[in-house]
Symmetry: C2
Subunit: 114 residues, 2 copies
């Protein structure tokens, strides 16, 4: 398997962040990750309630999130631990992630209104 690419903080592009979060499935995954304490695995995040994401699509979603700089992925045994880079990101793009998650109504700990 090819080594996973993670951009350095200063190489993160706003267009990549916006693109990654312009897909509601990816937002749902990201929001679950932001809520999860331990670092979610792919398969644990596949179930969106209304549909189960095929694993190749899921793998691609994680790739987009990772390469845009939204998450870090690290192999841990058979699984992949994923966690958000929200602290770093907020330093680079103040208020951005929070405003986006708020817009989607999926800020962790906030009641969903959809």
């Amino acid at each position: 398997m090819r080594p996973l690419f993670h951009p350095a903080l200063e190489d993160i592009k706003p267009e990549a962040i916006l693109y990654a979060l312009s897909d509601p499935e990816r937002v749902a995954i990201y929001a679950k990750l932001a809520g999860a304490s331990g670092g979610g695995t792919c398969s644990a995040l596949a179930d969106l309630g209304d549909r189960v994401i095929p694993k190749s699509s899921l793998s691609n979603h994680f790739k987009v999130l990772r390469e845009s700089g939204l998450i870090v992925s690290e192999r841990q045994g058979v699984e992949m631990r994923n966690q958000t880079r929200c602290t770093e990101l907020d330093e680079r793009f103040p208020g951005l992630i929070k405003a986006i998650l708020t817009a989607y109504g999926q800020l962790p700990g906030q009641p969903k209104t959809d």
Copy 2:
């Protein structure tokens, strides 16, 4: 010509906003519009400095911005007046547009830091 579609404020979707602003050309156009006082025309916004956007592409960019809810377009004689809906939008998605433009370093009146 088909009448131009503008979504009602409550129908504006965050994914459409993020998608529209995940393209640096559209962001450049939107930022110029946000800065312009009168309501910019398409052709006045075509020149990005490093390239001139073909007019069919430009027309499409405006369509994307319009249908996502970011701008309103209104025919005025031969031209099209375009203006941002930033005040309304900020009510619906507080802080979102500002955070995005700040991330791009193109908030009107703010020095670019890239």
